[in-house]
Amino acid sequence: MDDFSDDILVAASRRGDKRAYSVLVKRYYRYVFALCFGILGNFHDAEDICQDTMLKGYEKIKRLYRNDRYDQWILRIAKNLCIDFLRSKKRLRGFLAKQPSGVSNDVRDNGVLENAIVRLPKEYRVPLVMYYFDNKSATTIAKKLRISHSGVCQRIRLARQELHKLLTEEVQDEQ
């Protein structure tokens, strides 16, 4: 079943075949996670939203009209859930008025790099994160984000330059 096309797997999932949907989960989980991580910049939030997205995808799969567009459809759901999450977080932050903006509270050890990635503008961060999650294939990212290949390359380039600047600043601050 792992070799079946999205088309067949979506049709089977629509009939309630959980095994078929599991293959779609294995195939697209990392892309959805990369997008969520790119938008939210926080591992735990991205993981939660990614899992919600995949579950929502199963529940709403009957609404997908084009079986071959599952990848774009599931990424759109993820993007909308991330936006909703950021809105609710913003409301909560306004209420609590104490959360520092844009800084990840991720506990992983590579804090400097993590913070620098979080500080990148979202339009650069999303393709950059997806690039490293997707075996460094700009072509696949271009297809998934529906932007041109040169557009992806340009954003990755700008992201790398900005990241270099941020990391250099961090090192200088520490010295």
Binding site: G16, S22, Q51, K62, Y65, C153, R160, H164, T168
Partner: protein, 132 residues
């Protein structure tokens, strides 16, 4: 650092990520051979590339755990309403083609109905006029 260094440093990110155009690689390497500043810039970008690759590589295990968690959750889920034998009709109307086709049929049938009704009314009016 001169103006050509700016261009070379722009190309350095593409070189490191492997998307620099082959035609530009020669000029890039020639410049590097004679410029310590750009060589050092490229070295730090390459180090960052390794850092990024290993940083995101550490998520691999988390991906597998996450996938497994979703699959377990789906196994526990009841079938959403509308799955199964009774959903055939609903599935038919969920297709774009079926929806538009159905709308077109309704419009055509309505148009025929109105045309027939209008002709009947005009015939009845003519009969009434003749009888008067």
């Amino acid at each position: 650092m001169n103006s050509s260094c700016d261009k070379i440093r722009e190309a350095a990110a593409d070189f490191v990520t492997g998307v620099l155009d082959k035609s530009a690689v020669k000029a890039f390497e020639d410049h590097l051979a004679s410029c310590d500043g750009c060589r050092s810039y490229l070295r730090s970008l390459s180090n960052e590339e390794e850092l990024l690759t290993s940083h995101f590589g550490r998520f691999e295990g988390d991906m597998e755990k996450g996938e497994a968690a979703v699959i377990r959750a789906i196994d526990r889920l009841e079938l959403p309403a509308g799955f199964g034998i009774f959903s055939t009709g609903r599935l038919f109307f969920e297709g774009q083609f079926a929806k538009h086709g159905f709308a077109a049929v309704v419009i055509v049938v309505s148009a025929i109905y109105f045309a027939v009704t209008l002709s009947w009314i005009s015939q009845i009016t003519a009969c009434i006029r003749q009888s008067m």
